[in-house]
């Protein structure tokens, strides 16, 4: 057994333990914390299976945003009346059936064919016309661009759904409560120091995404995190949801993507096709705007529905 495989075993055990804890923890808070750990271990596993783009995303979204959001929810809902635990029969049946489905999944995985089919070669062969160096970015922004576009619309719908939960009279107002600014708090210091660094890192991740692991979503996540930090430190406030610039920021990414796609009809002979020679600059432009939109959407999703009176 090689060192590598040993490390893999170790990671798997960690992931299973974190997963077990997520399900079995007594309270929701513990479970949410375990879930963050689970996400981080998964991110390491993604590195181990040569998927650094996914690893970054898993760390940022899976562990970071999702985990943070669930931890926040678990503290909020702490006092919620608990339902009685499922009865013994239900649990035994659940164990049996989940195990069977898991076994079926395992069986299916073991049954995957040799040699495995792969689009890696095709993806690499199609890459030069786009001018990109990272095939994952090629898939996301060129080969399967429509998935990425629709995924942004999914995010906007989730945002709309979140906002729709506001009471009518608060519609158009700011989400969340106003954080008090406390000059002495370490949070404020962090809020002042970190964002500039974070923004640089975020933009860097976006930029290198063309050729190295990284890209719009990972960059946007970091920008959103910095923004959130500044909000929590009371340095800035979450904008009111009726702000035109905010709405514009949210739709700018997918909107531009769509416009570029439609322009493809005219200049490149097809929807979401890029004209030869202009592919890379266009993709980068789209990515920059997408990053900003993603940052805004993520921040707003974290902030929740409007809770303050709208500006008059």
């Amino acid at each position: 057994m090689t060192m590598g495989l040993l490390l893999d075993f170790f990671l798997v055990i960690l992931a299973l333990a974190a997963g077990w804890w997520t399900i079995g923890a007594k309270d929701s808070f513990g479970a949410a914390v375990a879930f963050v750990a689970y996400g981080l271990v998964l991110a390491l596993i993604w590195v181990r299976i040569a998927a650094p783009d996914v690893a970054l995303t898993e760390a940022a979204i899976g562990a970071g945003l999702t985990g943070g959001m669930l931890i926040g929810a678990s503290t909020r809902l702490e006092s919620a009346k608990q339902a009685t635990r499922a009865g013994g029969v239900t649990r035994r049946l659940a164990i049996a059936l989940s195990a069977l489905v898991a076994a079926a999944l395992a069986l299916a995985v073991l049954g995957l064919p040799h040699p495995p089919p792969s689009l890696a070669a095709a993806a690499m062969a199609a890459l030069p016309p786009t001018g990109l160096g990272n095939p994952v970015t090629g898939v996301l922004l060129a080969y399967r661009a429509v998935d990425t576009l629709l995924e942004k619309v999914v995010l906007i719908l989730a945002l709309l759904g979140t906002w729709s939960l506001a009471p009518d009279r608060l519609w158009g107002g700011r989400p969340g409560r106003k954080e008090r600014r406390n000059a002495a708090s370490p949070l404020t210091l962090l809020g002042q120091v970190l964002p500039p660094i974070g923004i640089v890192i975020g933009l860097h991740i976006l930029w290198v995404g063309a050729n190295e692991p990284g890209g719009a979503f990972q960059g946007g996540t970091i920008l959103a995190a910095m923004w959130m930090l500044a909000v929590m430190a009371g340095l800035v406030d979450v904008p009111a949801i009726s702000r035109t610039w905010l709405r514009l920021l949210v739709v700018a990414g997918p909107g531009l993507f769509l416009i570029v796609g439609l322009a493809g009809f005219v200049v490149a002979g097809g929807f979401l096709a890029y004209p030869p020679g202009f592919a890379k600059p266009l993709i980068l432009l789209v990515e920059v705007v997408l990053t900003l939109s993603v940052a805004a959407i993520l921040l707003l999703l974290l902030a929740g529905p409007p809770e303050r009176e709208p500006p008059r």
């Binding site: 798997v12 689970y38 996914v54 669930l70 809902l77 499922a86 089919p117 689009l119 090629g138 759904g161």
Partner: protein
């Protein structure tokens, strides 16, 4: 036993754990956690598929990798919406039970609008 098989089986077991939580845990927040756990397992299987497809000088097939990224974003969006619903439900009723809807069909007239 190689790394791919190991991670593939791990993905299946994690998915099973998630399924169990989704079925048996009565608290919606825990179901949400379980859903994300389940998603992680499924994505991991996809990662194994990508890894198996390593070719052309790449460590893995980039297509499944990209799909996992999209999938993670969609799962996050789902979680965000569910958390917002949960929070509002809790603020309104002080509880977040799912299995009360069965009794609600006998609730008084709705003012539909």
């Amino acid at each position: 036993m190689n790394a791919e098989v190991l991670f593939g089986l791990a993905g299946a077991v994690l998915a099973g754990l998630g399924l169990y939580g989704l079925v048996a845990d009565p608290a919606p927040l825990r179901k949400l956690l379980a859903f994300n756990l389940l998603g992680g397992g499924v994505f991991l299987v996809f990662g194994v598929v990508a890894r198996r497809g390593a070719a052309a000088g790449l460590g893995g097939d980039p297509v499944p990798q990209a799909l996992v990224i999209t999938g993670l974003v969609v799962a996050f969006a789902a979680t965000a919406l569910a958390v917002a619903l949960l929070r509002l439900l809790f603020e309104r009723t002080g509880q977040t039970l799912l299995d009360t809807a069965a009794q609600e069909r006998t609730s008084p007239d709705q003012a539909d609008g």
